[in-house]
């Protein structure tokens, strides 16, 4: 089943009199349950593409269908509502609120949902258990290691039960062992049926996915299945 379908997607930024074309007409489809890496060097437009797919940004031209619906022309608050219901984000720099506990950070997206208050806490606890942090519920993020922080961030991304999880360079600020542990979590998620879209500039990280879409200078240059997939385990080791 097609989850994401973009056609001739363009994004331009107008700055005074200079128009920068960041995405120059991209076409692809992503099915439910896929694990896709969007790969490319910096300036290739991969982050902008992720922002548009994740409803953080609007497209300039072309079309974007999500679950069969045209979402090309949504307003700010409609985009926010899509993010709230359909999307989970994992960022390179974690973006956790230091004054809140791990549990409160995970509960944050539910503040903007309709979920009753008592259900929110249970749901957030369950997700922190799933990423192995049940003993860190009430710790402030600045008392957690980098790997733990990113696991809290992943739990937060999943708390609203999203259709797609976007991970933007999730291993960029982590040592290789913690990075692999994070990749393991993403792979497990995908094995359970979640759609995961990973944005990275590293070939090695990208190869944890099933499919790689390569961008260069705002154009799609390659869209391939991964032939030799990388696998990580919980201990941060490669297994295959």
């Amino acid at each position: 089943m097609t989850l994401i379908k973009i056609k001739n997607l363009k994004r331009e930024f107008a700055n005074d009199e200079v128009v920068t074309k960041v995405l120059k007409g991209i076409d692809f489809e992503i099915d439910k349950g896929e694990f896709v890496s969007i790969m490319g060097p910096s300036g290739s437009g991969k982050s902008t593409l992720m922002h548009i797919l994740g409803f953080l940004d609007k497209l300039s031209d072309g079309s974007y269908h999500f679950e069969g619906e045209d979402v090309s022309k949504l307003e700010d608050d409609e985009l926010a509502s899509m993010r709230s219901k359909k999307i989970g984000f994992v960022f390179q720099s974690f973006n956790l609120l230091n004054r809140a506990s791990a549990l409160e950070n995970v509960m944050l997206p539910l503040l903007y949902s309709d979920m009753p208050h008592k259900d929110r806490e249970n749901r957030a606890k369950k997700l922190l258990e799933d990423v192995g942090l049940e003993h860190r519920l009430h710790h402030s993020p600045n008392k957690l290691s980098g790997g733990e922080k990113q696991r809290v961030a992943i739990a937060r991304a999943l708390v609203n039960n999203p259709e797609v999880v976007f991970a933007d360079e999730p291993t960029g600020n982590l040592d290789s062992k913690s990075g692999l542990a994070v990749m393991k979590i993403l792979q497990d998620l995908n094995e359970k049926g979640n759609t995961v879209i990973l944005v990275t500039h590293e070939k090695y990280t990208a190869e944890h996915a099933k499919r790689i879409i390569k961008l260069k200078d705002g154009e799609l240059v390659e869209d391939v299945e991964v032939s030799h997939r990388q696998w990580a385990n919980t201990n941060g080791e490669l297994t295959k």
């Binding site: 953080l56 926010a80 993010r83 973006n95 004054r99 997206p109 503040l111 903007y112 949902s113």
Partner: protein
């Protein structure tokens, strides 16, 4: 989206930076405190004036010698001695005045040193009529007041005010003893009960002698300095004033078209003039506190704008996980309102403390001052402080809600 959660998270923010939050609140604290104090002191001053009127009786008419402007005091009230008012004038009013005048007292006063053995006090003496007790609605504590016969017969008797008795005799019973005023011996026949301050005069620091005695033996004059008449009801005040005016004009032989040579007014009118002064003062103070509140409001706005800037990334994150503009606006509006609300509460508490202090000090000076803190002023203080948080929070909240999520997330 839960307002309760927003309030809790605002509270956490405030607790984390106590000094900054306090300084932010300061303008609001001072403004609300001023509002509470002004309203309480205003009410207190009002009660003071009302109590003064009440203590003298709202149905009293006063007559002073000398003409006066429409609302101004007569010259005699400023200490100039005018001798046109006589004992016979009072008697004429008693005889011919309207039935609405229940009783009438006359006064002439001076001050001198009073001796009892080696004890000396300098005090005021009032020469008055036997009807004094009725007109002023007071009574003796011990002994008796002087009679009509003593009033007319130049009797050498005296009734002491409570404080004078305390000063001269302490715990001793003074009745039957003699004191000396201007080399004349007076027999003490009574002590007045405590009255405190009434008509802005300390009624306990006086001694009372028959008016004829005061005129002939103590002062050597034949005029009186004031008449007070008690009217049966508030409704008949005008009638009583008219009746007094016509009797006195007739007695003084004032022709039609000529001005009065006396001033007759209700006592309440005189004191109400004071009330209008305090009302004007109150208005001025309210204006000052309003300025403090507005300045406080700008302080809040400034801090909230800085806070939005500081928390740009947080706002970006909240937007990324699904917060709509209204959620972000609400968060900052609630935060500014919680700050101003807390400031308001502190201001209310300080205001109440200052009001209590004021009342205590004024009461200790012998004035009858009611401590009034109305629920209205507390509701007003709370409402105004929350309102200021909302109004001055709008611009920062709007700025926060308009942030672009991508740029906000990248903000360093």
């Amino acid at each position: 989206m839960d307002i309760r959660e927003n309030i809790i998270s605002s509270w956490v923010m405030i607790k984390r930076s106590k000094a900054r939050s306090f300084l932010t609140m300061l303008g609001i604290i001072i403004g609300v405190m001023a509002v509470i104090v002004v309203m309480s002191v205003g009410k207190g001053a009002e009660s003071l004036i009302l109590n003064q009127i009440k203590s003298m009786g709202s149905n009293l008419v006063g007559v002073l010698p000398g003409a006066s402007e429409e609302d101004g005091p007569p010259a005699s009230a400023m200490g100039i001695i005018i001798t046109t008012l006589k004992y016979e004038d009072g008697q004429a009013i008693i005889k011919k005045g309207c039935d609405c005048i229940e009783s009438l007292a006359m006064y002439v006063s001076g001050n001198d040193v009073i001796n009892y053995g080696d004890n000396k006090v300098s005090t005021n003496f009032s020469g008055t009529t036997a009807s004094y007790i009725k007109v002023e609605e007071t009574e003796v504590r011990t002994g008796r007041f002087f009679t009509l016969e003593e009033e007319k017969g130049v009797a050498k008797v005296a009734v002491l005010g409570f404080e004078v008795k305390e000063k001269l005799f302490g715990d001793q019973d003074p009745i039957g003893r003699r004191i000396k005023i201007k080399k004349t011996n007076f027999l003490i026949i009574g002590v007045m009960k405590e009255r405190g301050v009434s008509g802005f005069t300390n009624q306990d620091d006086q001694i009372f002698v028959p008016i004829s005695t005061a005129q002939k033996l103590l002062l050597g004059v034949d005029h009186i300095s004031a008449i007070r008449a008690k009217v049966d009801s508030d409704k008949n005040m005008e009638k009583a004033l008219d009746s007094i005016t016509w009797i006195l004009r007739d007695k003084h032989g004032i022709d039609f078209g000529e001005a009065d040579d006396f001033t007759a007014r209700s006592m309440a009118q005189g004191l109400e003039a004071l009330g209008s002064i305090t009302a004007a003062l109150r208005l001025f103070l309210v204006a000052v506190s309003a300025i403090a509140l507005v300045v406080g409001g700008f302080g809040i706005m400034n801090i909230m704008l800085a806070s939005v800037q500081e928390r740009t990334r947080e706002i970006g994150l909240r937007k990324a996980v699904g917060a709509k503009k209204i959620h972000i606006s609400l968060q900052f509006l609630i935060e500014s309102s919680v700050i101003t609300f807390l400031g308001g509460i502190i201001g209310i508490i300080l205001g109440i403390l200052i009001s209590i202090l004021t009342a205590t000090v004024v009461k200790s000076m012998g004035y009858d001052w009611d401590l009034v803190i109305t629920p209205f002023s507390i509701i007003l203080g709370t409402g105004v402080s929350i309102g200021i948080g909302l109004i001055f929070g709008i611009i920062p909240a709007r700025r926060a809600s308009q942030l672009d999520p991508i740029e906000a997330l990248r903000y360093e």
